[in-house]
C-alpha cells in the first residue's frame, strides 16, 4: 500500500475518532436542556449530571479534530487548501459555534447564578446543534462533489452546500449524535437522569434510524461501489441492534457500543465512496483532487507515518485509561452543591 493510501485511511481514522467521541459530546449538549423536564426534583441537578458525564473527556475528544485538520494539512495540503477556502462560510459557522461551546462548558459552573447558566446553556446548545448538523452537511457536500475548477479553486453556490442530499446528511449526523449522546448518558448515569436518557433514546430510535438509513442508501446508490454495500450493511445492522437494545431495555454498554460502530461505519462509508478522490470536481472529473495529485511528498508522509505509529497507540491508551478512571455512574442526587461564585462579592 502506498503511503498516500495509508494517509487517506489515517485521515478517515482521525475523523472516525472525532465523530465517535465528540459525537456523544455533541449529543449531550443537544439534549442537555431536556434533562429533568419530566422527573421530579431540581432540573439544574439533572442537567449538571448530564454535563458532567462528558466533563473529564470532551476536551480530549475535540483534539481528534485538531489532529485531523493538522493531518490533512500535512498529508494532503492540496485538499486542505481547496476545501477550507472553498467551504469558507460553513466552516466559519462551525468554528464560531465550537468556540461558544468550549467557553460555555468551561465557564458555566464558574458563577452560581441562573441567568449566567442560561447564557451558558444557550452557548452549549448552539455549539452542539450547529456543528452536529453542519458536519453532516459539509461531508455530504464533499462526497457529492464541489465545483473545483482547473486552478483547484472552488467558487461555491448556495446549492452546492445546501441541497436535499446534504440536508439529509445534516439531519442524519445530528440525529445520530443525539441518539449516541442519549445512549452515553444512559451508560454514565443512574436514577432519574438515566430514565430520562432512556426515554430520549427510545423516542429518537426510529426517526434517527430512518434518517441514517436514508442517507446511507442515497450515498450508496449515488456514489457507492460494490464493496461499500458491506459498510452500509454493517452501519444499518449496528444501528438496528442499538435500537433493539434500547427498546428491550437491554445492556447500556452494548447499546452505546452499537451506536459507536454506527457512527464509525457512516464516516468510513463517506470516505470509502470518496476514494481515490479527496474532492470530486462537479465541473470536470479530471480536475478532481485525488490522493495522488493533492498529497505531500513521500518523505513528509514517511515522517508523519512514524509519528502516527508511535503516538497514536499511546494516545488511544491514555484516553482509554481516562474513561476507565471516570467509569463510575453519576446521579442527580449525589451531585454536590454548585461550586461557582455568586455574581457579586458578598
Amino acid at each position: 500500500m502506498a503511503l498516500h493510501d495509508f494517509w487517506f485511511i489515517a485521515l478517515a481514522a482521525l475523523f472516525v475518532g472525532f465523530f465517535v467521541l465528540e459525537g456523544f459530546d455533541f449529543g449531550i449538549g443537544m439534549l442537555m436542556k431536556t434533562f429533568g423536564r419530566v422527573a421530579k426534583g431540581d432540573r439544574e441537578q439533572h442537567q449538571r449530571a448530564a454535563l458532567n458525564t462528558i466533563g473529564p473527556v470532551w476536551d480530549g475528544n475535540e483534539v481528534w479534530l485538531i489532529t485531523a485538520g493538522g493531518a490533512m494539512f500535512a498529508a494532503f495540503p492540496g485538499m486542505y487548501a481547496t476545501l477550507f477556502s472553498g467551504l469558507y462560510l460553513p466552516l466559519l459557522a462551525i468554528l464560531v459555534s465550537m468556540i461558544l461551546r468550549i467557553c460555555a462548558i468551561e465557564w458555566r459552573g464558574k458563577i452560581d447564578d441562573p441567568h449566567w447558566r442560561q447564557w451558558a446553556d444557550l452557548g452549549i446548545a448552539i455549539g452542539s446543534w450547529v456543528p452536529a448538523v453542519l458536519w453532516g452537511v459539509v461531508f455530504a457536500a464533499l462526497v457529492r462533489g464541489l465545483p473545483v475548477n482547473a486552478d483547484k479553486q472552488i467558487h461555491l453556490s448556495f446549492t452546492d452546500v445546501f441541497n436535499p442530499y446534504t440536508l439529509l446528511g445534516g439531519l442524519a449526523t445530528a440525529g445520530l449524535f443525539a441518539f449516541h449522546g442519549a445512549l452515553f448518558a444512559r451508560l454514565k448515569t443512574e436514577g432519574a437522569v438515566r430514565d430520562d436518557a432512556t426515554r430520549f433514546a427510545a423516542r429518537l430510535a426510529l426517526p434517527v434510524t430512518a434518517a441514517v438509513a436514508a442517507f446511507g442508501v442515497w450515498t450508496q446508490l449515488a456514489h457507492g461501489n460494490d464493496w461499500t454495500w458491506l459498510i452500509l450493511g454493517f452501519a444499518i445492522v449496528s444501528q438496528l441492534s442499538a435500537v433493539m437494545l434500547v427498546l428491550s431495555k437491554g445492556g447500556d454498554g452494548w447499546a452505546f457500543t452499537c451506536t459507536a460502530w454506527t457512527v464509525a461505519a457512516v464516516v468510513i462509508l463517506l470516505f470509502a465512496v470518496l476514494y481515490p478522490n479527496l474532492i470530486p470536481s462537479t465541473l470536470n472529473p479530471d480536475w478532481s483532487l485525488t490522493v495522488l495529485n493533492a498529497s505531500s511528498t513521500p518523505y513528509t508522509l514517511k515522517i508523519m507515518s512514524w509519528a502516527a505509529l508511535i503516538f497514536a497507540p499511546l494516545v488511544i491508551t491514555y484516553q482509554a485509561w481516562t474513561y476507565w478512571v471516570f467509569r463510575q455512574r453519576i446521579s442527580a442526587d449525589r451531585i454536590p452543591a454548585p461550586i461557582g461564585l455568586s455574581r457579586r462579592p458578598t
Binding site: N52, G55, P56, T67, G70, A74, Y299, Q319
Partner: protein
C-alpha cells in the same frame, strides 16, 4: 477594500488575541505543578489552596486559549490557501505533530487533573499536572518551529514541477536556530507572564490581608515564588532576545533595519530610543535620543566596526534580486512595537525587585501604593508578548515566507501571493464575526478572572485538603468541576 488587507487584519487580530491567553497557560501550568508538588511533599494546606486557586484561574483562561486555537489552525486553509498549498508539505507536519504529540496529552491529562482530585492517588494526580505542564511547552515548540520556518526556511527545497516547497529534512526543521531561539524567547516570556501573574495577585492579597495568618503562610511565599520566576524570566528574556536578535540581523536584515529606522547603511550606527516623523519615509525621521555602542553589540556582540545595512539599500538589493516591489515592512509599527516590547518587559522586572525588597526577611508590606502597583503590573507582560509578536510578524512583511539568505532562493512567498481568492465581503464577514465574538468573550474572561481574584483563595475553597481517595472504587466520589 482589498481582501488581502482584510485577511491580514483578521490574521493579526485572531493571532494576537490567541496569544493573550496562551502565554499564561504555558507559564502557569508549570507553576501550578510546582505549587502542588510543594503541597504533596510538605502537606502544607496553604499550597493546596494556592494550587486550587490558581488552578481555577488557569481553567478560565485555558478555555479561551483552546477555543481560539482552533481558528488558528483552520484559517491557514480558509484565508491563506495559496500559502497552504505552497508550504503544506513542510508546514503541515509540525502542526499535525503538535496535535498528536502535545495537544492530546495536554487536554486529556488536564481533564484527569480537573476531575481526578478524589479519584486518583495523590502522586498520580500530581503527575497529571506535570504532564500538562510539559505538554503545553511542547505544543509551543511545534508551533514556533512552524512559524520559524516562515522566518527562516530550512530543510526544504523548491520543486519546480509541483511549484511548492518540499520538506527534505525534518531534523533541520526542528533544529532551525531561529526556532530554538524563538522558542526559548517565547517560553521565557510565558514564564514572565505567569510569574508576574502569581506575584501580582498574591502581593495584592498580601497587603490586603496583612493582618491574617495567610499573609505569612500563603501570600508571602507565593509572592516570592512569582517574583523569582518573573525576575529570572526577565533576565532570560534579555539573553534569549539577544540571541534571536543576532540571528535576525543575519537572516532578516530588513526587519532589524526597520526596527531601528536605519535608513542608510552605516558603520556603528547609534541605537535609537526616541524618534519623531513619518516613518514610512525613513529620511524624514528625526532621531531625538540615541545611544552609541548598543546597536553594534546587539547585532554582532562587538562595540565597534560593525556595518549595518539600511532600509533603502536593502530595498534596492531586493529589487535587483526579486524584481520590482516594495520590500519594506511598516517602519512605524516595527520601530515602536520593538520598543514597546522592551518597555513593557521592564515593568514586571522592576516590580519583582520592589516586591522582593519589601518582603525581605519575613516582612509583610502594608503600603497601599504597593498593592496598586501589584495590580497595575498584571497587564504589562501580556502587552510585551503582543508587542513582540506584532514586531516579528509585521517585520517580515511583505513576505509570508521570508527568503533565507543562505538557502533555496525559490522558497519565498509574499502575502499577496499567499492569500485565498475570496472577495473582500466574504473575508470581512468573518473578520467582523470573529472581532465581535472575541471582544465579547474577552469581557467575560476579564470579568471572571477579576471576580475570582477579588474573591481570593479562601472563600470558595474552604476545604484545606481533599479527602484521601478511598480504596474501594465503587464508593469513591467524583470531583465536579461543572
Amino acid at each position: 477594500m482589498d481582501p488581502l488587507d482584510v485577511s491580514r487584519w483578521q490574521f493579526g487580530i485572531t493571532t494576537v488575541y490567541h496569544f493573550i491567553f496562551v502565554p499564561l497557560t504555558i507559564g502557569l501550568a508549570p507553576l501550578i505543578a510546582v505549587m502542588q508538588t510543594v503541597w504533596v511533599i510538605t502537606d502544607n494546606p496553604a499550597w493546596y489552596r494556592l494550587t486550587r486557586f490558581f488552578g481555577k484561574l488557569f481553567l478560565i483562561n485555558f478555555a479561551l486559549g483552546v477555543a481560539t486555537g482552533i481558528v488558528q489552525e483552520f484559517q491557514f486553509g480558509m484565508n491563506w490557501s495559496e500559502y497552504s498549498r505552497f508550504v503544506g508539505d513542510v508546514f503541515g507536519a509540525p502542526l499535525a505533530m503538535e496535535g498528536l504529540v502535545a495537544f492530546f496529552f495536554e487536554s486529556t491529562f488536564l481533564g484527569l487533573w480537573i476531575f481526578g482530585w478524589t479519584r486518583l492517588p495523590r502522586l498520580v494526580h500530581l503527575a497529571c499536572i506535570w504532564v500538562v505542564a510539559v505538554a503545553v511547552n511542547m505544543s509551543a515548540f511545534f508551533i514556533i518551529a512552524a512559524n520559524s520556518w516562515m522566518q527562516h526556511p530550512v530543510g526544504a527545497r523548491y520543486n519546480p514541477e509541483t511549484g511548492r516547497a518540499e520538506l527534505t529534512s525534518i531534523v533541520a526543521l526542528f533544529t532551525n536556530n531561529t526556532a530554538t531561539a524563538a522558542f526559548s524567547h517565547a517560553v521565557t516570556g510565558a514564564f514572565l507572564t505567569a510569574g508576574t501573574f502569581v506575584a501580582g495577585v498574591c502581593a495584592w492579597w498580601l497587603v490586603r490581608a496583612r493582618e491574617s495568618d495567610e499573609a505569612r503562610t500563603m501570600y508571602r511565599p507565593a509572592t516570592i515564588l512569582g517574583c523569582l520566576v518573573a525576575l529570572a524570566a526577565a533576565a532570560g528574556l534579555g539573553l534569549t532576545g539577544d540571541t534571536q536578535g543576532k540571528l535576525m540581523f543575519q537572516q532578516q536584515p530588513m526587519k532589524m533595519a526597520s526596527a531601528e529606522s536605519l535608513c542608510h547603511t552605516e558603520t556603528d550606527p547609534d541605537f535609537s530610543v526616541l524618534t519623531i516623523g513619518t516613518h514610512n519615509n525613513c529620511d524624514s525621521v528625526t532621531h531625538l535620543i540615541e545611544v552609541p555602542y548598543v546597536l553594534p553589540f546587539l547585532a554582532e556582540g562587538r562595540f565597534d566596526g560593525v556595518k549595518l545595512e539600511g532600509v533603502k539599500d536593502l530595498q534596492e538589493q531586493y529589487q535587483t534580486k526579486f524584481g520590482p516591489g516594495d520590500y519594506r515592512p511598516n517602519l512605524f509599527v516595527t520601530y515602536w512595537a520593538f520598543r514597546a516590547m522592551i518597555g513593557f518587559l521592564a515593568v514586571p522586572g522592576l516590580f519583582a525587585l520592589v516586591a522582593l525588597w519589601l518582603t525581605r526577611r519575613g516582612r509583610i508590606p502594608d503600603q497601599r501604593w504597593f498593592a496598586w502597583f501589584a495590580l497595575l503590573v498584571l497587564p504589562t507582560p501580556f502587552l510585551a508578548n503582543s508587542a513582540g509578536w506584532v514586531f516579528t510578524e509585521m517585520g517580515r512583511q511583505p513576505w509570508v515566507v521570508v527568503p533565507n539568505p543562505t538557502g533555496d532562493q525559490m522558497i519565498r512567498l509574499t502575502v499577496d501571493q499567499g492569500v485565498s481568492g475570496h472577495s473582500a465581503g466574504v473575508v470581512l464577514t468573518s473578520l467582523i464575526t470573529f472581532t465581535a465574538l472575541y471582544a465579547g468573550l474577552a469581557v467575560v474572561w476579564f470579568w471572571l478572572l477579576s471576580r475570582y481574584v477579588v474573591e481570593g483563595p479562601l472563600e470558595h475553597d474552604s476545604e484545606p485538603a481533599p479527602p484521601k481517595p478511598p480504596g474501594d472504587d465503587e464508593i469513591a466520589p467524583l470531583s465536579f468541576a461543572y
